[in-house]
Subunit: 274 residues, 2 copies
């Protein structure tokens, strides 16, 4: 048993390519079809109603491409719209980025105190706290929105004085509270891993939601006997679609994917809006 | 002769309310109809094609509301799509935010060196340099994109160590180059006026494009005898429309407008997309 159909992955922008990077590392034979809604990103500050609408539009577009699994690589959509998307996509597994990292953190916290950092929307919804609470209600969860981290990454300010000062500004409280795990609840944050680790110290473990999401996808496809049968997967066999060819998208895509993208196709927003 | 129709103003988000604030200060009898495309903001990093498309959609929506003048309060749209909008709106005057501030700066620079700060898109298009060059080609113009200023304002970090460090990071070069005027080419930047002035020193004059745009609107309406006849204008008689009721929009609107907005109406993105 095997399934040669691609895995669909979407995000509001290019940050979701961090999930694709991990998917290729774990399953180099898979084909991916990636959608980044770069004409309307970021979703983080928008209303829940609008986030649900955009998320369902993105998901439906990928469903129409005959995929075997849908990965919602956007923390914001995973936090406020995953159930709505699952209800509409009953035939294939749908994975968000919240639950895999939440599970990993629960298994790792000795102090039973977990920190979660992300966009305003992700933190405000309390989605990670809910996911952790369902597994073990005795664990304390501290959320902190870090809205400057995304523009810092997009400016390429990965490691300088400003970024360190911003990291201290956001994280000192969490360190004082005694967390021993912090979930990086935003696809951009793995690029700040070094600065964040330098700020919080080595006693605190950082959990990259992209990595744990890719592991979850591998587990599910393995259990379903639905891994790809041929060695025709990987970067060249995959497709990368965006709704806008934004400034510097090639450089940004490369930073998130850790590789050069062979080609990016532009699709029209009209093809997405239902 | 007078004209009681409203003035249409649009921006990608709520920042254009800084222009509305100046319009009310200069012409308290006017009615405004404001459109903020908060479901798709910010426009700054998108492709020129997408910025043109969104700008024309916003403009057309306001044109359909029977306005007497259109103000493009968005620096990004003013920089890349003003001519396209003017071509479609031949019956009423269309004002962008670039030319009024450019003219004001030309009249004020003694050193004949002007700095322009704004979003990546605004600076990259060189729209202010072009506008200044048409008036006086001997003036040197130095542009600098400051992408962290908008998220700092939106976080309410108006005056702290991080904001000062970011301002130094962006502006030290411009100070060294010897400019004596800096155009604040983004609607968010007036809120950082104090930090920016503190960074560049009092020798450098800051020019707020919102203020000069409102003055231009007043000049044109006066010359056309098209000011409003009645004292039924102002905040209560105006309308404020957005495409998404984003997080904290009321507080943000208040910060930009310098006043509480009586009510904000949500319109659907479908009403905008043609």
């Amino acid at each position: 048993m095997s399934d040669s159909r691609p895995i669909g992955v979407f995000d509001s922008g290019l940050g979701g390519l961090t999930v694709v990077r991990e998917l290729f590392r774990l399953m180099p034979g898979e084909r991916i079809i990636y959608l980044g809604d770069t004409a309307r990103c970021p979703y983080g500050g928008r209303s829940e109603e609008t986030i649900r609408l955009f998320g369902i539009e993105d998901a439906q577009f990928l469903m129409d491409q005959d995929i075997k699994m849908l990965i919602v690589a956007c923390n914001t959509v995973s936090s406020v719209a995953l159930e709505h998307i699952e209800q509409r996509m009953k035939d294939i597994p749908v994975i968000g980025v919240v639950l895999p990292a939440a599970r990993a953190a629960v298994l790792r916290t000795a102090e039973r105190k977990i920190g979660v950092i992300g966009t305003v929307a992700t933190v405000r919804t309390g989605s990670y706290a809910r996911a952790i609470g369902k597994i073990d209600p005795s664990i304390k969860v501290f959320g902190k929105a870090c809205p400057l981290f995304v523009p810092l990454v997009e400016e390429g300010m990965i490691d300088n004085d400003i970024t360190r000062l911003v990291a201290q500004h956001y994280l000192y409280e969490m360190i004082d509270l005694g967390v021993d795990c912090i979930i990086l609840g935003c696809t951009h944050y793995p690029l700040l891993m070094e600065v964040i680790q330098g700020t919080v110290g080595t006693r605190i473990q950082l959990l990259d939601s992209a990595l744990w999401t890719a592991k979850e996808a591998q587990d599910i496809l393995t259990a379903m006997n639905a891994l790809s049968p041929y060695h025709n997967g990987g970067l060249e066999a995959s497709r990368f679609l965006v709704t806008d060819l934004t400034l510097h998208f090639e450089g940004q895509a490369e930073a998130f994917l850790g590789n050069t993208i062979p080609s990016i196709e532009r699709i029209l927003l009209e093809d997405l809006v239902q």
